[in-house]
């Protein structure tokens, strides 16, 4: 585990994800037309956790995809080594679907903006909702999450790390100063 204060332990993360799953079902009145898309890489692991809970509760399959936002970043300045490009894998149509975008930490909102652009390039969903495990504030764009595991007011000097085990299951959320 990284040095810092644990703000959500494993049990707390599990509870938060279960609550988010229930809130998603409540808001969307079930899983009809519902798909989850995780933002690589942390968001993908969390999306799979939420999908497992949704399927357990509803007994129905919920498609899950993953989106890499590297090619949609707004800080592409050129002449600085670029980030490695990851794989976007959305193996289903997004047309008229209710998309729940999942990420681990919501910060400036720029990643979410990029992810929404990427999703819109894949099709025109009926709506996009946002689920995050931690909202740490400091938004630079008018974006807010629909489902939040934990709101953690932070300073810009602090960092939030969501930790995963070898099987990509979330363990702790740590505040690093």
């Amino acid at each position: 585990m990284a040095d810092g204060t644990v703000i959500l332990d494993t049990a707390g993360v599990k509870r938060a994800l279960t609550r988010i799953a229930h809130e998603i079902l409540e808001r969307n009145k079930g899983v009809d037309g519902l798909v989850l898309v995780g933002i690589r890489t942390g968001g993908v692991h969390l999306a799979r956790e939420i999908v497992a809970r949704l399927e357990e509760i509803e007994g129905a399959t919920v498609p899950v995809g993953e989106v890499d936002i590297t090619l949609y970043r707004d800080d592409f300045k050129g002449h600085a080594p670029h980030l490695p490009v990851g794989k976007t894998d959305i193996p289903f149509s997004l047309e008229t679907k209710r998309v729940v975008l999942v990420d681990d930490v919501l910060f400036t909102g720029r990643t979410i903006r990029a992810a929404m652009d990427a999703i819109m390039d894949h099709g025109r969903p009926a709506c996009i909702q946002l689920a995050v495990l931690v909202d740490r504030g400091h938004r630079e764009l008018p974006i807010r999450a629909d489902f939040v595991g934990r709101n953690v007011p932070t300073s810009l000097k602090e960092k939030i790390a969501v930790l995963f085990d070898a099987a990509n299951r979330p363990t702790d959320v740590v505040l690093e100063k």
Binding site: L71, Y72, P81, K87, T88, D121
Partner: protein, 311 residues
Amino acid sequence: MGFKHKDIIGLQDLTREEIQLLLDTADNMKEINSRDIKKVPTLRGKTVVNVFYEASTRTRTSFEIAAKRLSADTINISASTSSVTKGETLSDTARNILAMKPDIIVMRHAASGAHHYLAQRVSCSVINAGDGAHEHPSQGLLDMLTMRQKFGTIEGLTVAIVGDITHSRVARSDIFGLTKMGAHVRLAGPPTMMPPGIERLGNVTVCRDMREAIEGVDVVMMLRIQLERQGKTLLPTLREYARYYGLNPQNLKLAKPGAMVMHPGPINRGVELSSYVADSDQSAILTQVENGVAVRMAMLYHVSGGELATE
């Protein structure tokens, strides 16, 4: 690790890790080419100039599509429609293009080393789309990507390259790339088309004949006989070439079952490849073309993040 080159002149200049990074990026970019909206905003506002001093359809189109899929603006200049026909030097052409503030120049030139010369004189990135008999790095990368997709890895593969090795920039890029990635390369071709000492490049074996070269290999890479250039002076007849160095269903049986057949195109049907082999399930020729776009997108992406040269 990041990609720190301003230019891509050849695979000889790249490390194994850099080649791996380019292949990984291309592999992940392939998804963009299968969407309804085949475009990402990455190079929005960047200008890519394609300067082709030699005729090319496939490579130029592939680079143009790649640039457009990354949202760059593209301009094509061919020697036949430029001031080169009026006697302008490469240096002057470069200075004039540079005055238009491009971000990347993609160039094909008949002279080996032209790209190196250009890259030292311009601040924007230069990508080699083929220089004389030197290198054709994007073709080398797309060949490796095609092999990696089928076999999962390049390490440990045995690849036969057959044809005019001396004049083939594809062969040179393939040899540099494949041997760096851990493949073993066998070469075969008429003695008039085999450069002496090429085995010194590394894990390369020069074979006495084509049958020895393709025996038990995973991949057979057939090179195009460049009839418009040296073919006529180095070969008695095309029929004889096809007999001794052409790939047909009979000699293909010497390779591993299901071995992959590759060709950089365009094919001289009935010369280096029989039509039956070119159109068979073992042929990866169209997959190579498809992978070309993704590889060139990866090259454009990474050079635009390379370090500026100190002038």
